[in-house]
């Protein structure tokens, strides 16, 4: 086929038939890894997105290219998406806090009242 492209690379590629059928097999783009980045030492790692990679080491390499090429980043974590266990979003109501829970709260304990009462009783 004739290719009068302006692209110097294209002219060297000797591209084949435009109608050729190229099929990418399922799985050829590897696994998905979730990426967590840390902006500064001491901060939490935060989820920023994911990359496709064949193994965790390369996932880190790709994550560095994808998520750390501009803003400050001091560390990255990757984990296979399939290894993340999460609750079903439809079960969200299980987190509803409808019980009285102030026994778990600092505000649930009135020490000053007791101290004042004790001092007055003297």
């Amino acid at each position: 086929m004739s290719n009068d492209s302006l692209d110097p690379r294209v002219n060297r590629l000797k591209l084949g038939d435009a109608n050729a059928v190229i099929k990418v097999e399922e799985g050829e783009n590897w696994n998905v890894y979730e990426v967590f980045h840390q902006e500064k030492r001491g901060a939490h790692h935060e989820h920023v997105g994911c990359v496709h990679a064949p193994d965790p080491q390369l996932a880190l390499v790709f994550a560095k290219e994808q998520f750390a090429r501009r803003k400050k980043c001091v560390n990255l974590w990757v984990v296979r998406s399939a290894d993340i266990l999460a609750f079903d979003v439809e079960d969200e109501d299980m987190f509803a806090n409808n019980l009285e829970k102030n026994y778990r709260d600092a505000s649930g304990f009135k020490v000053m009242e007791k101290i004042n009462k004790f001092k007055q009783s003297k």
Binding site: V10, I22, W30, G49, L58
Partner: protein, 332 residues
């Protein structure tokens, strides 16, 4: 704007649940109320089948546009005038490929595999933004793309970032942040030619004349002819009409072109002071459909380059397969 009619609707291993194929009216009401309240929809949430299909189409074609859009510019890396321009262009092209990855990931959360998306691009089933079917003949074309095509893309992406699908919005936030650099470096290179020698100015004017029609096509057919979907607006898949976005683009960027003493090849182009809206000659929409259906100057080349990359890269992907899983220690 990422036009084309193909919508993914084949099972690809991840079957939709029965209730997703036939929308449950009660769930639909709850879903629409969530969107009306401004809540984001997340991957595991219930969603109408049509919402899923339209989002896959939109995000997938946006992803393809990023990847294909890097091709006309990538061509110019070796010929960029000067070290700083070359660095900026390399960074921009890398960003565009990165944006493609972010968007493919967002589309994947809806159930279509990346491989299936790439196959649909290569077979021509799935489309990408029409502007990338035109050649970048001179360096001035690269500056027009970097300034005006990226500006148009930003108008679209800023609107879509307020949409209802969480993963798409998050990807777009990151993309918009990086695109602001693309726009600025494009504007800078554009101004340099516009204020340069007579030859540079003439080269820029020529590029602008050639790109004006594709730019006017960018946001898609006028509202009066496009199948305008109330539903997609209500579901916050589509955030503004084609004409609305085109008008917003003209309002922001035509003055920036005119102030440099350049002209646009449309004598009717003006802002109506009474309505506050831009008036223009309708671009040739038959040409738009001809190009989007494969008749443009670069359609074949773009797909051939992508096919070549897939074929020639296959042995690398295969060689990296079969990872030897190593036992890992806790990270913290």
């Amino acid at each position: 704007m990422y036009g084309g009619g193909y919508i993914f609707d084949e099972p690809n291993g991840k079957q939709l649940r029965e209730e997703q194929l036939h929308d449950d009216p009660e769930k639909l009401v709850a879903f629409e109320e969530r969107i009306a309240r401004g809540e984001k929809i997340e991957p595991g949430d219930w969603m109408p089948a049509e919402y899923r299909r339209q989002l896959i189409r939109l995000i997938e074609q946006h992803a393809h546009s990023e990847i294909i859009g890097a091709l006309p510019e990538g061509t110019w890396i070796t010929r960029a005038p000067g070290f700083k321009r070359k660095l900026a262009l390399i960074a921009k092209v890398q960003d565009e490929i990165g944006h493609g990855q972010l968007l493919y990931n967002a589309a994947e959360t809806l159930g279509k595999s990346r491989e299936a998306m790439i196959n649909d691009l290569l077979s021509g089933k799935s489309k990408y933004s029409n502007v990338f079917n035109y050649p970048a003949k001179t360096w001035a074309d690269v500056t027009v793309i970097g300034f005006l095509i990226d500006a148009a893309a930003i108008v679209n992406q800023v609107a879509n970032a307020k949409g209802s699908y969480g993963p798409y919005c998050r990807a777009l936030e990151r993309i918009c942040y990086e695109e602001s650099f693309h726009l600025k470096q494009g504007h800078d290179a554009f101004i340099e030619l516009a204020t340069g020698t007579p030859e540079q100015k003439a080269m820029l004017q020529d590029a602008l004349n050639r790109w004006w029609q594709p730019i006017m096509h960018f946001f898609g057919p006028p509202d009066k002819t496009s199948q305008h979907s109330e539903k997609l607006m209500q579901w916050k898949v589509k955030m503004a009409s084609n004409d609305e976005m085109r008008n917003q683009f003209l309002d922001s960027y035509v003055p920036k072109i005119w102030e440099l003493g350049l002209t646009l090849p449309d004598p009717a182009l003006r802002k109506n002071p009474d309505t506050g809206r831009w008036e223009y000659t309708d671009p040739d929409w038959n040409e738009f459909f001809r190009v989007i259906n494969g008749g443009g100057p670069c359609n074949a080349e773009r797909l051939q380059v992508r096919k070549w990359a897939e074929e020639e890269g296959r042995w690398v992907r295969k060689a990296l397969m079969n990872p030897t899983e190593r036992r890992s220690l806790p990270v913290a």
